[in-house]
Amino acid sequence: MYAWIWRRLPGRLPVRVALAVALAAGVLAVLWFGIFPLVDGLLNLEDVTVEQPPDREPLQYAP
């Protein structure tokens, strides 16, 4: 897979290295700013509040 991508990069070696780095950076940016926040929201691992169990009378808060 990676060899396949490498073979399709045009130009001489320095150009290819630069293109490969740019490609990796682009993929990382998409993951970090797009995919990861989305996945994190779906996982919902970060519930930190105390909540009413559904089978109990709601507790009365002070107004």
Binding site: M1, L31, E46, V48, T49, A62
Partner: protein, 230 residues
């Protein structure tokens, strides 16, 4: 395989020719490595990326809070900053959002709606994530440590009285009177809730504090805050 066959293959695929089995194995290996790298990256995001996002949100929220205080805007509604919270021992301060939805808590600590406001008799309940930029070190607080709430008009110094670990359904910890949930409130208290243990969320770490000092903004910062910069 004849030389002619080799020649045709070479024409179709200029790359080095490999048996099919080897190619499949290579692809599977590369995919597995990629999955491993992705998981490590996601873990890095969960620790550093989210802390960084929250620091940015806190900067904006803090600026909004200062603007609101300066302009005399009306009481904050859900999603707006309602107060500032300082914990000198942890050298931290945050702008607290009104509300505890996932969206509110992405910006920093959140104030449980319908619980008391700083200084009032009752229980100021605040939730926050157990991440480095929020309540990560909450377990380091001990009895007597100061938690200071700052509003437009005053400083409210609370001292930690109790720390406990409860199941996520223990709503009585944010009741107006957390010690006796069925009785009306008698003291001005402040309660922080976060997940416990770290990186998991099957329990809640609870810190209760009691109001010990109240001073107007004009009287200057309380002594509890003077040492640290938070």
């Amino acid at each position: 395989m004849t030389t002619a066959e080799h020649a045709t293959l070479a024409k179709e695929e200029p790359e080095v020719w490999e048996p099919r089995r080897l190619r499949v194995a290579r692809l599977a290996g590369e995919l597995m490595l990629t999955c491993g790298v992705l998981l490590v990256l996601f873990a890095a995001y969960a620790v550093y990326g989210k802390a960084w996002e929250m620091d940015n949100e806190q900067r904006e929220l803090g600026a909004e809070l200062d603007r609101r205080w300066a302009s005399g805007a009306e009481a904050p509604v859900s999603g707006q900053p309602m107060a500032r919270l300082h914990i000198p021992k942890l050298d931290r301060r945050w702008a607290v959002t009104e509300g505890v939805t996932q969206a509110d808590l992405r910006k920093g600590p959140g104030h449980y709606p319908r619980t008391a406001r700083p200084g009032e008799i009752g229980n100021v309940a605040v939730a926050g994530h157990r991440i480095s930029s929020v309540f990560w070190d909450l377990d380091r607080l001990r009895k007597g440590d100061a938690i200071v709430a700052e509003t437009k008009t005053g400083w409210y110094v609370y001292r930690v009285v109790r720390e406990r670990v409860v199941p996520p359904t223990a709503v009585e910890v944010v009741a107006p009177n957390p010690d006796h949930p069925d009785d009306p409130p008698a003291k001005a208290m402040l309660t922080l809730t976060t997940c416990n243990p770290k990186f998991q969320n099957y329990q809640r770490l609870i810190v209760h504090a009691e109001l010990v000092e109240e001073r107007a903004k004009s009287e200057g910062r309380p002594a509890a805050l003077k040492k640290g910069r938070a």
